[in-house]
Amino acid sequence: MSSVIAARPLGARPRRNARRGARAAAIHLTAIVISFVCAGPVLLLVVASLHDSVFADFSLTNLTVANYERLLSNEVFLRWIVNSVLVALAVTALTVAVDVLAAYAFAKVRFAGRDVTFRVMLATMMLPFSATLVPVYLLASELGMIDRYSGLIIPAAAGPFGVYLLRQFVRGIPDSLLEAARIDGAGHASIFGRIILPLCRQPMAVLAIFTFVANWNTFLWPLLMAQSEHMMTLPVGIATTNTQFAQNISLLTTGAVISIVPMALLFVLFQRYFIRGVLAGAMKS
Protein backbone atom coordinates (compact mmCIF):
# COMPACT_ATOMS: atom_id res chain seq x y z
CA MET A 1 0.00 0.00 0.00
CA SER A 2 2.53 2.57 1.07
CA SER A 3 5.11 1.35 -1.40
CA VAL A 4 3.65 4.11 -3.51
CA ILE A 5 5.33 6.60 -1.24
CA ALA A 6 8.72 5.45 -2.42
CA ALA A 7 7.83 5.59 -6.08
CA ARG A 8 6.01 8.89 -5.81
CA PRO A 9 6.92 11.42 -8.46
CA LEU A 10 7.84 14.85 -7.16
CA GLY A 11 4.97 17.24 -6.79
CA ALA A 12 2.30 14.58 -6.35
CA ARG A 13 1.21 16.06 -3.02
CA PRO A 14 -2.58 15.83 -3.28
CA ARG A 15 -2.52 12.19 -4.27
CA ARG A 16 -0.05 11.45 -1.52
CA ASN A 17 -2.29 13.10 1.05
CA ALA A 18 -5.23 11.12 -0.20
CA ARG A 19 -3.20 7.94 0.11
CA ARG A 20 -2.17 8.91 3.58
CA GLY A 21 -5.79 9.57 4.49
CA ALA A 22 -6.81 6.19 3.14
CA ARG A 23 -4.03 4.56 5.11
CA ALA A 24 -5.10 6.28 8.33
CA ALA A 25 -8.69 5.27 7.69
CA ALA A 26 -7.63 1.66 7.18
CA ILE A 27 -5.69 1.75 10.43
CA HIS A 28 -8.63 3.23 12.30
CA LEU A 29 -10.98 0.63 10.88
CA THR A 30 -8.69 -2.26 11.85
CA ALA A 31 -8.14 -0.78 15.30
CA ILE A 32 -11.88 -0.41 15.82
CA VAL A 33 -12.52 -4.02 14.82
CA ILE A 34 -9.80 -5.32 17.15
CA SER A 35 -10.97 -3.05 19.98
CA PHE A 36 -14.45 -4.44 19.51
CA VAL A 37 -13.23 -8.03 19.64
CA CYS A 38 -11.26 -7.28 22.82
CA ALA A 39 -13.61 -5.00 24.72
CA GLY A 40 -16.96 -6.15 23.30
CA PRO A 41 -17.20 -9.35 25.37
CA VAL A 42 -16.37 -7.38 28.52
CA LEU A 43 -19.09 -4.89 27.66
CA LEU A 44 -21.56 -7.76 27.27
CA LEU A 45 -20.50 -8.97 30.71
CA VAL A 46 -21.37 -5.57 32.14
CA VAL A 47 -24.75 -5.59 30.39
CA ALA A 48 -25.52 -9.09 31.69
CA SER A 49 -24.67 -7.97 35.21
CA LEU A 50 -27.32 -5.26 34.99
CA HIS A 51 -30.13 -7.78 34.65
CA ASP A 52 -31.87 -9.51 37.49
CA SER A 53 -32.36 -12.94 35.94
CA VAL A 54 -31.12 -16.47 36.38
CA PHE A 55 -30.03 -16.71 32.75
CA ALA A 56 -27.73 -14.36 30.89
CA ASP A 57 -29.62 -11.48 29.34
CA PHE A 58 -27.89 -9.05 27.00
CA SER A 59 -30.78 -6.74 26.15
CA LEU A 60 -30.39 -3.06 26.88
CA THR A 61 -33.84 -2.66 28.40
CA ASN A 62 -34.93 -3.16 32.01
CA LEU A 63 -31.48 -2.52 33.35
CA THR A 64 -31.17 -2.65 37.12
CA VAL A 65 -28.46 -2.54 39.74
CA ALA A 66 -30.33 -5.01 41.93
CA ASN A 67 -27.50 -7.56 41.64
CA TYR A 68 -24.95 -5.05 42.79
CA GLU A 69 -27.07 -4.14 45.78
CA ARG A 70 -27.54 -7.79 46.61
CA LEU A 71 -23.86 -8.73 46.32
CA LEU A 72 -22.52 -5.68 48.09
CA SER A 73 -24.74 -6.41 51.04
CA ASN A 74 -23.93 -10.10 51.09
CA GLU A 75 -21.62 -11.06 53.90
CA VAL A 76 -19.82 -13.85 52.05
CA PHE A 77 -19.27 -11.80 48.93
CA LEU A 78 -17.99 -8.83 50.90
CA ARG A 79 -15.62 -11.20 52.64
CA TRP A 80 -14.25 -12.29 49.23
CA ILE A 81 -13.64 -8.66 48.31
CA VAL A 82 -11.90 -8.03 51.61
CA ASN A 83 -9.80 -11.19 51.15
CA SER A 84 -8.81 -10.21 47.62
CA VAL A 85 -7.81 -6.71 48.65
CA LEU A 86 -6.03 -7.85 51.77
CA VAL A 87 -4.11 -10.68 50.10
CA ALA A 88 -3.09 -8.69 47.02
CA LEU A 89 -2.02 -5.71 49.15
CA ALA A 90 -0.11 -7.85 51.62
CA VAL A 91 1.69 -9.85 48.95
CA THR A 92 2.59 -6.62 47.19
CA ALA A 93 3.89 -4.93 50.33
CA LEU A 94 5.86 -7.99 51.37
CA THR A 95 7.29 -8.53 47.89
CA VAL A 96 8.39 -4.93 47.39
CA ALA A 97 9.90 -4.63 50.87
CA VAL A 98 11.77 -7.93 50.77
CA ASP A 99 12.90 -7.52 47.18
CA VAL A 100 14.26 -4.00 47.44
CA LEU A 101 16.34 -5.04 50.44
CA ALA A 102 17.73 -8.05 48.61
CA ALA A 103 18.23 -6.04 45.43
CA TYR A 104 20.52 -3.64 47.29
CA ALA A 105 22.59 -6.50 48.65
CA PHE A 106 22.86 -8.20 45.27
CA ALA A 107 23.69 -4.98 43.45
CA LYS A 108 25.93 -3.03 45.80
CA VAL A 109 27.27 -5.22 48.58
CA ARG A 110 30.07 -7.59 47.71
CA PHE A 111 29.94 -10.85 49.57
CA ALA A 112 31.13 -14.35 48.90
CA GLY A 113 28.70 -16.40 46.85
CA ARG A 114 26.71 -13.41 45.72
CA ASP A 115 26.80 -14.17 42.02
CA VAL A 116 26.12 -17.86 42.53
CA THR A 117 23.12 -17.16 44.74
CA PHE A 118 21.77 -14.62 42.32
CA ARG A 119 22.23 -16.90 39.35
CA VAL A 120 20.38 -19.71 41.10
CA MET A 121 17.49 -17.37 41.80
CA LEU A 122 17.51 -16.08 38.25
CA ALA A 123 17.45 -19.60 36.87
CA THR A 124 14.22 -20.36 38.70
CA MET A 125 12.46 -17.39 37.17
CA MET A 126 11.37 -19.52 34.25
CA LEU A 127 10.56 -22.45 36.48
CA PRO A 128 6.89 -23.27 35.98
CA PHE A 129 4.79 -23.18 39.13
CA SER A 130 3.80 -26.79 38.45
CA ALA A 131 7.34 -27.93 39.21
CA THR A 132 7.07 -26.80 42.83
CA LEU A 133 3.32 -26.86 43.34
CA VAL A 134 2.95 -30.20 45.09
CA PRO A 135 5.72 -29.75 47.69
CA VAL A 136 4.77 -26.12 48.34
CA TYR A 137 1.28 -27.30 49.12
CA LEU A 138 2.57 -30.08 51.38
CA LEU A 139 4.84 -27.58 53.11
CA ALA A 140 2.04 -25.07 53.59
CA SER A 141 -0.10 -27.80 55.06
CA GLU A 142 2.76 -28.88 57.33
CA LEU A 143 3.19 -25.30 58.52
CA GLY A 144 -0.53 -25.01 59.22
CA MET A 145 -1.01 -22.33 56.59
CA ILE A 146 -3.96 -23.86 54.80
CA ASP A 147 -7.17 -21.84 54.99
CA ARG A 148 -5.20 -19.03 56.60
CA TYR A 149 -4.09 -15.67 55.31
CA SER A 150 -0.48 -16.66 55.92
CA GLY A 151 -0.86 -19.44 53.34
CA LEU A 152 -2.44 -17.12 50.82
CA ILE A 153 0.19 -14.43 51.31
CA ILE A 154 3.65 -15.66 52.30
CA PRO A 155 4.42 -18.25 49.59
CA ALA A 156 3.27 -15.77 46.95
CA ALA A 157 6.10 -13.39 47.83
CA ALA A 158 8.91 -15.92 47.28
CA GLY A 159 9.53 -15.34 43.58
CA PRO A 160 12.80 -13.85 42.29
CA PHE A 161 11.32 -11.49 39.70
CA GLY A 162 11.25 -8.38 41.89
CA VAL A 163 14.83 -8.86 43.01
CA TYR A 164 15.89 -9.12 39.41
CA LEU A 165 13.91 -6.05 38.36
CA LEU A 166 15.12 -3.84 41.22
CA ARG A 167 18.70 -5.09 41.11
CA GLN A 168 18.92 -3.98 37.49
CA PHE A 169 17.92 -0.52 38.62
CA VAL A 170 20.10 -0.34 41.74
CA ARG A 171 23.12 -1.39 39.69
CA GLY A 172 22.60 1.72 37.61
CA ILE A 173 23.02 3.98 40.63
CA PRO A 174 26.61 5.28 40.43
CA ASP A 175 29.04 3.86 42.96
CA SER A 176 30.55 7.31 43.45
CA LEU A 177 27.31 8.40 45.10
CA LEU A 178 27.48 5.57 47.62
CA GLU A 179 31.23 6.06 48.09
CA ALA A 180 30.67 9.71 48.96
CA ALA A 181 28.07 8.75 51.55
CA ARG A 182 30.40 6.13 52.95
CA ILE A 183 33.18 8.68 53.36
CA ASP A 184 30.72 10.79 55.30
CA GLY A 185 30.38 7.85 57.64
CA ALA A 186 27.15 6.32 56.37
CA GLY A 187 26.70 2.59 56.89
CA HIS A 188 24.68 0.22 54.72
CA ALA A 189 21.45 0.98 56.55
CA SER A 190 21.66 4.70 56.06
CA ILE A 191 22.86 4.39 52.46
CA PHE A 192 19.90 2.16 51.79
CA GLY A 193 17.44 4.43 53.56
CA ARG A 194 18.72 7.77 52.32
CA ILE A 195 19.97 7.00 48.81
CA ILE A 196 18.67 3.71 47.46
CA LEU A 197 15.05 3.87 48.63
CA PRO A 198 14.31 7.39 47.38
CA LEU A 199 15.91 6.64 44.01
CA CYS A 200 14.04 3.34 43.65
CA ARG A 201 10.57 4.83 44.00
CA GLN A 202 9.66 4.38 40.35
CA PRO A 203 10.80 0.80 39.81
CA MET A 204 9.22 -0.06 43.14
CA ALA A 205 5.95 1.36 41.88
CA VAL A 206 6.27 -0.72 38.71
CA LEU A 207 6.90 -3.83 40.76
CA ALA A 208 4.05 -2.99 43.14
CA ILE A 209 1.49 -2.61 40.37
CA PHE A 210 2.74 -5.69 38.56
CA THR A 211 2.55 -7.75 41.76
CA PHE A 212 -0.82 -6.40 42.79
CA VAL A 213 -2.44 -7.12 39.43
CA ALA A 214 -0.94 -10.60 39.23
CA ASN A 215 -2.09 -11.51 42.71
CA TRP A 216 -5.51 -9.96 42.35
CA ASN A 217 -6.17 -12.25 39.41
CA THR A 218 -4.33 -15.35 40.49
CA PHE A 219 -6.35 -18.51 40.82
CA LEU A 220 -4.63 -21.84 41.37
CA TRP A 221 -2.78 -21.07 44.61
CA PRO A 222 -5.72 -19.42 46.43
CA LEU A 223 -7.90 -22.26 45.13
CA LEU A 224 -5.66 -24.70 46.99
CA MET A 225 -5.28 -22.55 50.08
CA ALA A 226 -8.88 -21.50 50.60
CA GLN A 227 -10.72 -24.53 51.92
CA SER A 228 -13.65 -22.70 53.45
CA GLU A 229 -15.97 -20.27 51.76
CA HIS A 230 -14.98 -17.33 53.90
CA MET A 231 -11.27 -17.60 52.97
CA MET A 232 -11.83 -17.44 49.22
CA THR A 233 -10.64 -14.60 47.03
CA LEU A 234 -12.89 -13.21 44.29
CA PRO A 235 -11.64 -15.41 41.40
CA VAL A 236 -11.89 -18.55 43.52
CA GLY A 237 -15.34 -17.62 44.77
CA ILE A 238 -16.59 -16.88 41.26
CA ALA A 239 -15.19 -20.15 39.90
CA THR A 240 -16.43 -22.36 42.70
CA THR A 241 -19.58 -24.16 41.72
CA ASN A 242 -21.13 -24.92 45.10
CA THR A 243 -21.54 -21.41 46.43
CA GLN A 244 -24.86 -19.65 46.89
CA PHE A 245 -24.17 -17.59 43.75
CA ALA A 246 -23.15 -20.30 41.33
CA GLN A 247 -26.64 -21.05 40.00
CA ASN A 248 -27.41 -17.44 39.16
CA ILE A 249 -25.52 -16.32 36.07
CA SER A 250 -26.29 -12.65 36.42
CA LEU A 251 -25.04 -12.66 40.01
CA LEU A 252 -21.82 -14.27 38.81
CA THR A 253 -21.41 -11.67 36.09
CA THR A 254 -21.93 -8.97 38.68
CA GLY A 255 -19.24 -10.50 40.85
CA ALA A 256 -16.97 -10.63 37.82
CA VAL A 257 -17.55 -6.97 36.99
CA ILE A 258 -16.85 -5.98 40.59
CA SER A 259 -13.59 -7.93 40.41
CA ILE A 260 -12.57 -6.01 37.28
CA VAL A 261 -13.25 -2.52 38.66
CA PRO A 262 -10.04 -2.16 40.71
CA MET A 263 -7.92 -3.38 37.80
CA ALA A 264 -9.60 -0.95 35.42
CA LEU A 265 -9.07 1.92 37.88
CA LEU A 266 -5.41 1.00 38.32
CA PHE A 267 -4.98 0.80 34.58
CA VAL A 268 -6.55 4.20 33.98
CA LEU A 269 -4.51 5.84 36.74
CA PHE A 270 -1.15 4.15 36.16
CA GLN A 271 -1.14 3.16 32.53
CA ARG A 272 2.51 4.01 32.05
CA TYR A 273 3.49 1.77 34.97
CA PHE A 274 1.46 -1.06 33.47
CA ILE A 275 3.34 -0.75 30.22
CA ARG A 276 6.64 -0.62 32.03
CA GLY A 277 5.58 -3.60 34.12
CA VAL A 278 4.78 -5.50 30.96
CA LEU A 279 8.19 -4.65 29.59
CA ALA A 280 9.97 -5.59 32.78
CA GLY A 281 7.92 -8.75 33.01
CA ALA A 282 9.03 -9.76 29.57
CA MET A 283 12.63 -8.87 30.09
CA LYS A 284 12.80 -11.38 32.89
CA SER A 285 13.97 -13.94 30.42
Binding site: S3, I27, C38, L45, S130, L139, A157, V213
Partner: protein
Protein backbone atom coordinates in the same frame (compact mmCIF):
# COMPACT_ATOMS: atom_id res chain seq x y z
CA UNK B 1 20.27 -6.61 29.35
CA UNK B 2 22.34 -8.96 27.29
CA UNK B 3 25.50 -7.18 28.23
CA UNK B 4 24.60 -7.76 31.82
CA UNK B 5 23.87 -11.47 31.60
CA UNK B 6 27.04 -11.84 29.61
CA UNK B 7 28.89 -10.13 32.40
CA UNK B 8 27.46 -12.46 34.98
CA UNK B 9 28.38 -15.47 32.92
CA UNK B 10 31.88 -14.22 32.42
CA UNK B 11 32.36 -14.20 36.12
CA UNK B 12 30.96 -17.67 36.48
CA UNK B 13 34.37 -19.29 36.54
CA UNK B 14 36.12 -17.08 39.08
CA UNK B 15 33.11 -16.74 41.34
CA UNK B 16 32.63 -20.46 41.75
CA UNK B 17 36.32 -21.23 42.03
CA UNK B 18 37.54 -22.47 45.42
CA UNK B 19 38.70 -19.83 47.84
CA UNK B 20 42.40 -20.61 47.51
CA UNK B 21 42.61 -19.39 43.93
CA UNK B 22 42.15 -15.75 44.76
CA UNK B 23 45.26 -14.61 42.93
CA UNK B 24 44.44 -16.15 39.52
CA UNK B 25 40.99 -14.67 39.80
CA UNK B 26 42.39 -11.20 40.07
CA UNK B 27 44.67 -11.62 37.10
CA UNK B 28 41.78 -13.07 35.10
CA UNK B 29 39.72 -10.01 35.90
CA UNK B 30 40.89 -7.33 33.48
CA UNK B 31 40.38 -9.17 30.16
CA UNK B 32 36.85 -10.09 31.19
CA UNK B 33 36.07 -6.60 32.36
CA UNK B 34 37.21 -5.15 29.08
CA UNK B 35 34.33 -6.60 27.08
CA UNK B 36 31.47 -5.54 29.34
CA UNK B 37 30.49 -2.35 31.02
CA UNK B 38 31.30 -3.69 34.45
CA UNK B 39 33.38 -1.64 36.81
CA UNK B 40 37.09 -2.47 36.98
CA UNK B 41 38.41 -5.68 38.62
CA UNK B 42 36.37 -6.80 41.56
CA UNK B 43 37.78 -6.83 44.99
CA UNK B 44 36.44 -9.70 46.97
CA UNK B 45 35.86 -8.75 50.56
CA UNK B 46 34.49 -11.64 52.45
CA UNK B 47 33.80 -9.50 55.49
CA UNK B 48 30.90 -7.96 53.59
CA UNK B 49 28.73 -11.01 54.05
CA UNK B 50 27.77 -9.96 57.57
CA UNK B 51 26.48 -6.50 56.64
CA UNK B 52 24.72 -8.01 53.62
CA UNK B 53 22.80 -10.52 55.71
CA UNK B 54 20.08 -8.25 57.10
CA UNK B 55 19.22 -7.24 53.56
CA UNK B 56 19.23 -10.77 52.26
CA UNK B 57 17.76 -12.85 54.99
CA UNK B 58 14.07 -12.32 54.24
CA UNK B 59 14.34 -13.06 50.54
CA UNK B 60 16.67 -15.99 50.94
CA UNK B 61 14.37 -17.53 53.54
CA UNK B 62 11.27 -17.07 51.40
CA UNK B 63 12.97 -18.22 48.24
CA UNK B 64 14.63 -21.18 49.91
CA UNK B 65 11.48 -22.30 51.68
CA UNK B 66 8.94 -21.89 48.92
CA UNK B 67 10.92 -22.34 45.70
CA UNK B 68 14.35 -23.94 46.07
CA UNK B 69 13.48 -26.54 48.70
CA UNK B 70 10.14 -27.51 47.09
CA UNK B 71 11.85 -27.98 43.76
CA UNK B 72 14.44 -30.30 45.24
CA UNK B 73 11.65 -32.06 47.09
CA UNK B 74 9.75 -32.54 43.84
CA UNK B 75 12.76 -34.39 42.46
CA UNK B 76 12.96 -36.45 45.66
CA UNK B 77 9.25 -37.31 45.50
CA UNK B 78 9.58 -38.74 42.02
CA UNK B 79 11.58 -41.63 43.48
CA UNK B 80 9.05 -42.35 46.23
CA UNK B 81 5.77 -44.19 46.55
CA UNK B 82 2.93 -43.93 49.03
CA UNK B 83 1.56 -40.77 50.57
CA UNK B 84 2.58 -38.44 53.33
CA UNK B 85 -0.07 -39.93 55.61
CA UNK B 86 0.88 -43.57 55.12
CA UNK B 87 4.56 -42.77 54.81
CA UNK B 88 6.82 -42.66 51.78
CA UNK B 89 9.11 -45.43 50.69
CA UNK B 90 11.75 -45.66 48.01
CA UNK B 91 10.25 -46.68 44.68
CA UNK B 92 13.22 -46.42 42.31
CA UNK B 93 12.10 -45.56 38.83
CA UNK B 94 8.58 -46.94 39.29
CA UNK B 95 6.92 -43.53 38.84
CA UNK B 96 8.86 -42.87 35.67
CA UNK B 97 7.93 -46.28 34.30
CA UNK B 98 4.29 -45.49 35.06
CA UNK B 99 4.52 -42.13 33.33
CA UNK B 100 5.83 -43.84 30.22
CA UNK B 101 3.00 -46.38 30.31
CA UNK B 102 0.18 -44.07 31.36
CA UNK B 103 -2.01 -43.63 28.28
CA UNK B 104 -4.04 -40.88 29.96
CA UNK B 105 -0.83 -38.91 30.54
CA UNK B 106 0.01 -39.41 26.88
CA UNK B 107 -3.40 -38.07 25.98
CA UNK B 108 -2.88 -35.02 28.17
CA UNK B 109 0.39 -34.39 26.36
CA UNK B 110 -1.35 -34.70 22.99
CA UNK B 111 -4.07 -32.32 24.17
CA UNK B 112 -1.49 -29.87 25.43
CA UNK B 113 0.43 -30.17 22.16
CA UNK B 114 -2.67 -29.41 20.11
CA UNK B 115 -3.38 -26.47 22.38
CA UNK B 116 0.14 -25.14 21.89
CA UNK B 117 -0.02 -25.72 18.15
CA UNK B 118 -2.90 -23.25 17.98
CA UNK B 119 -1.93 -20.84 20.73
CA UNK B 120 1.72 -20.23 19.87
CA UNK B 121 1.48 -19.25 16.18
CA UNK B 122 -1.84 -17.46 16.65
CA UNK B 123 -0.55 -15.40 19.58
CA UNK B 124 2.66 -14.48 17.78
CA UNK B 125 0.99 -13.41 14.55
CA UNK B 126 -1.97 -11.63 16.12
CA UNK B 127 -0.10 -9.77 18.86
CA UNK B 128 2.75 -8.80 16.55
CA UNK B 129 0.26 -7.37 14.05
CA UNK B 130 -1.71 -5.59 16.76
CA UNK B 131 1.54 -4.28 18.26
CA UNK B 132 2.52 -2.87 14.88
CA UNK B 133 -0.90 -1.29 14.60
CA UNK B 134 -0.62 0.27 18.05
CA UNK B 135 2.80 1.68 17.22
CA UNK B 136 1.37 3.77 14.41
CA UNK B 137 0.92 7.42 15.24
CA UNK B 138 -2.71 8.12 14.58
CA UNK B 139 -5.15 10.15 16.61
CA UNK B 140 -6.95 8.24 19.33
CA UNK B 141 -4.43 5.41 19.47
CA UNK B 142 -4.44 5.67 23.27
CA UNK B 143 -8.13 4.80 23.33
CA UNK B 144 -7.58 1.76 21.12
CA UNK B 145 -4.65 0.72 23.28
CA UNK B 146 -6.77 0.85 26.42
CA UNK B 147 -9.63 -1.07 24.83
CA UNK B 148 -7.30 -3.74 23.45
CA UNK B 149 -5.67 -4.12 26.85
CA UNK B 150 -9.04 -4.79 28.53
CA UNK B 151 -8.94 -8.61 28.37
CA UNK B 152 -5.52 -8.61 30.03
CA UNK B 153 -7.05 -6.93 33.07
CA UNK B 154 -9.32 -9.89 33.73
CA UNK B 155 -8.58 -12.93 35.74
CA UNK B 156 -8.75 -16.10 33.64
CA UNK B 157 -11.77 -17.08 35.71
CA UNK B 158 -13.68 -14.04 34.50
CA UNK B 159 -12.52 -14.55 30.92
CA UNK B 160 -13.79 -18.14 31.06
CA UNK B 161 -17.11 -16.99 32.49
CA UNK B 162 -17.51 -14.44 29.69
CA UNK B 163 -16.82 -16.88 26.88
CA UNK B 164 -18.98 -19.59 28.41
CA UNK B 165 -21.77 -17.07 28.40
CA UNK B 166 -21.13 -16.04 24.81
CA UNK B 167 -21.40 -19.61 23.52
CA UNK B 168 -24.34 -20.66 25.66
CA UNK B 169 -26.80 -22.75 23.63
CA UNK B 170 -29.81 -20.82 24.88
CA UNK B 171 -28.70 -17.24 25.29
CA UNK B 172 -25.15 -16.91 23.95
CA UNK B 173 -24.79 -14.11 21.38
CA UNK B 174 -21.84 -15.77 19.68
CA UNK B 175 -23.69 -19.06 19.35
CA UNK B 176 -26.65 -17.20 17.89
CA UNK B 177 -24.45 -15.55 15.29
CA UNK B 178 -22.81 -18.80 14.21
CA UNK B 179 -26.16 -20.58 14.16
CA UNK B 180 -27.66 -17.82 12.04
CA UNK B 181 -24.73 -18.23 9.65
CA UNK B 182 -25.55 -21.90 9.37
CA UNK B 183 -22.76 -23.30 11.53
CA UNK B 184 -23.64 -25.52 14.41
CA UNK B 185 -20.41 -25.22 16.38
CA UNK B 186 -19.99 -27.90 19.07
CA UNK B 187 -18.11 -25.37 21.24
CA UNK B 188 -17.24 -27.45 24.25
CA UNK B 189 -19.00 -30.70 23.43
CA UNK B 190 -16.52 -31.94 20.84
CA UNK B 191 -13.01 -32.67 22.10
CA UNK B 192 -10.93 -31.07 19.37
CA UNK B 193 -13.25 -28.08 19.03
CA UNK B 194 -13.08 -27.58 22.79
CA UNK B 195 -9.30 -27.45 22.77
CA UNK B 196 -9.23 -25.08 19.82
CA UNK B 197 -11.80 -22.92 21.57
CA UNK B 198 -9.75 -22.89 24.77
CA UNK B 199 -6.78 -21.84 22.63
CA UNK B 200 -8.68 -18.96 21.08
CA UNK B 201 -9.88 -17.73 24.47
CA UNK B 202 -6.32 -17.97 25.75
CA UNK B 203 -5.07 -15.85 22.85
CA UNK B 204 -7.86 -13.38 23.56
CA UNK B 205 -6.80 -13.01 27.19
CA UNK B 206 -3.20 -12.27 26.25
CA UNK B 207 -3.65 -9.97 23.25
CA UNK B 208 -3.28 -6.86 25.41
CA UNK B 209 -0.17 -7.94 27.23
CA UNK B 210 1.90 -9.18 24.31
CA UNK B 211 0.67 -6.49 21.93
CA UNK B 212 2.01 -3.83 24.28
CA UNK B 213 5.33 -5.65 24.25
CA UNK B 214 5.47 -5.69 20.47
CA UNK B 215 4.25 -2.11 20.39
CA UNK B 216 7.14 -0.87 22.47
CA UNK B 217 9.54 -2.98 20.42
CA UNK B 218 8.27 -1.35 17.24
CA UNK B 219 8.45 2.06 18.88
CA UNK B 220 12.06 1.41 19.77
CA UNK B 221 13.05 0.82 16.17
CA UNK B 222 15.36 3.68 15.25
CA UNK B 223 13.33 5.98 12.96
CA UNK B 224 16.54 7.01 11.18
CA UNK B 225 16.93 3.44 9.94
CA UNK B 226 13.43 3.47 8.55
CA UNK B 227 13.95 6.86 6.93
CA UNK B 228 17.22 5.73 5.40
CA UNK B 229 15.53 2.67 3.93
CA UNK B 230 12.71 4.81 2.57
CA UNK B 231 15.21 7.11 0.88
CA UNK B 232 16.86 4.04 -0.62
CA UNK B 233 13.51 3.24 -2.18
CA UNK B 234 12.18 0.61 0.20
CA UNK B 235 8.40 0.32 0.35
CA UNK B 236 6.29 -0.13 3.45
CA UNK B 237 6.28 -3.91 3.18
CA UNK B 238 10.04 -4.02 2.68
CA UNK B 239 10.63 -1.71 5.63
CA UNK B 240 8.51 -4.04 7.73
CA UNK B 241 10.07 -7.34 6.69
CA UNK B 242 13.65 -6.25 6.15
CA UNK B 243 14.11 -3.77 8.97
CA UNK B 244 11.42 -3.77 11.64
CA UNK B 245 10.76 -7.50 11.99
CA UNK B 246 14.44 -8.50 12.25
CA UNK B 247 14.96 -5.77 14.86
CA UNK B 248 12.10 -6.93 17.06
CA UNK B 249 13.20 -10.55 16.90
CA UNK B 250 14.45 -10.58 20.51
CA UNK B 251 11.02 -9.50 21.73
CA UNK B 252 9.33 -12.11 19.55
CA UNK B 253 11.62 -14.67 21.13
CA UNK B 254 10.65 -13.54 24.63
CA UNK B 255 6.97 -13.75 23.71
CA UNK B 256 7.51 -17.19 22.23
CA UNK B 257 9.09 -18.51 25.41
CA UNK B 258 6.49 -16.91 27.68
CA UNK B 259 3.60 -18.23 25.60
CA UNK B 260 5.14 -21.69 25.58
CA UNK B 261 5.61 -21.79 29.33
CA UNK B 262 2.09 -20.56 29.95
CA UNK B 263 0.64 -22.97 27.39
CA UNK B 264 2.21 -26.00 29.02
CA UNK B 265 0.68 -24.92 32.32
CA UNK B 266 -2.85 -24.42 31.04
CA UNK B 267 -5.08 -24.95 34.02
CA UNK B 268 -7.35 -22.07 35.06
CA UNK B 269 -9.33 -22.04 31.84
CA UNK B 270 -9.83 -25.80 31.92
CA UNK B 271 -11.06 -25.49 35.49
CA UNK B 272 -13.70 -22.87 34.70
CA UNK B 273 -14.71 -23.95 31.19
CA UNK B 274 -14.48 -27.71 30.75
CA UNK B 275 -13.24 -29.44 33.91
CA UNK B 276 -11.27 -31.67 31.59
CA UNK B 277 -14.27 -32.75 29.55
CA UNK B 278 -15.89 -33.87 27.38
CA UNK B 279 -14.54 -37.17 28.67
CA UNK B 280 -10.84 -36.55 28.98
CA UNK B 281 -10.61 -34.46 25.80
CA UNK B 282 -9.42 -31.31 27.54
CA UNK B 283 -7.33 -33.01 30.18
CA UNK B 284 -4.19 -30.94 30.01
CA UNK B 285 -1.00 -32.08 31.65
CA UNK B 286 -1.40 -29.54 34.43
CA UNK B 287 -5.02 -30.55 35.00
CA UNK B 288 -3.98 -34.17 35.33
CA UNK B 289 -1.21 -33.25 37.76
CA UNK B 290 -3.78 -31.34 39.80
CA UNK B 291 -6.23 -34.24 39.78
CA UNK B 292 -3.54 -36.62 40.96
CA UNK B 293 -2.13 -34.40 43.63
CA UNK B 294 -5.31 -32.96 45.10
CA UNK B 295 -8.24 -35.11 44.06
CA UNK B 296 -7.25 -38.45 45.38
CA UNK B 297 -4.34 -39.67 43.31
CA UNK B 298 -0.72 -40.37 44.04
CA UNK B 299 1.27 -37.34 45.18
CA UNK B 300 4.65 -38.82 44.11
CA UNK B 301 3.15 -39.64 40.74
CA UNK B 302 1.87 -36.07 40.37
CA UNK B 303 5.34 -34.79 41.21
CA UNK B 304 6.86 -37.09 38.60
CA UNK B 305 4.50 -35.84 35.92
CA UNK B 306 5.24 -32.24 36.81
CA UNK B 307 8.94 -32.91 36.51
CA UNK B 308 8.53 -34.62 33.13
CA UNK B 309 6.48 -31.63 32.10
CA UNK B 310 9.25 -29.30 33.21
CA UNK B 311 11.81 -31.18 31.14
CA UNK B 312 9.56 -31.03 28.09
CA UNK B 313 9.00 -27.29 28.56
CA UNK B 314 12.70 -26.67 29.03
CA UNK B 315 13.52 -28.59 25.85
CA UNK B 316 10.95 -26.71 23.79
CA UNK B 317 11.94 -23.33 25.19
CA UNK B 318 15.60 -24.24 24.66
CA UNK B 319 14.94 -25.12 21.04
CA UNK B 320 13.14 -21.81 20.49
CA UNK B 321 15.95 -19.85 22.08
CA UNK B 322 18.74 -21.67 20.25
CA UNK B 323 16.94 -21.59 16.94
CA UNK B 324 16.44 -17.86 17.02
CA UNK B 325 19.97 -17.36 18.28
CA UNK B 326 21.57 -19.26 15.45
CA UNK B 327 19.30 -17.53 12.98
CA UNK B 328 20.37 -14.22 14.44
CA UNK B 329 23.98 -15.27 13.97
CA UNK B 330 23.34 -16.00 10.32
CA UNK B 331 22.07 -12.52 9.69
Amino acid sequence: MQVDSGGVLQNAGPASAPGGSAAPVRTAGPPGAGSGDRPPPRRRRRGELLPALPFLVAKVLLFGTFIAFPFVYTVYLTFQRGSLLTGLSFAGLENYRNVVRDTLFHETLRNTALFMLVVIPLTLVVTCAVGLLLSSRIRGIGVYRSLIYTPSLLSIVVAGLIWKMLIDRETGPLDRVTTALGFDVPWLTDGTTAIVFLSVVTVWTSIGFYSLLFMSAFNNVDPDLVDAARIDGAGGWQVLTKIKLPLIRPVAQVVLVLVTINAVQLFDLVYVMTQGGPGTATYTAMWYVYQNAFNGGSVPYAATMSLVLLVITAVIAGIFINRSRSEADDV
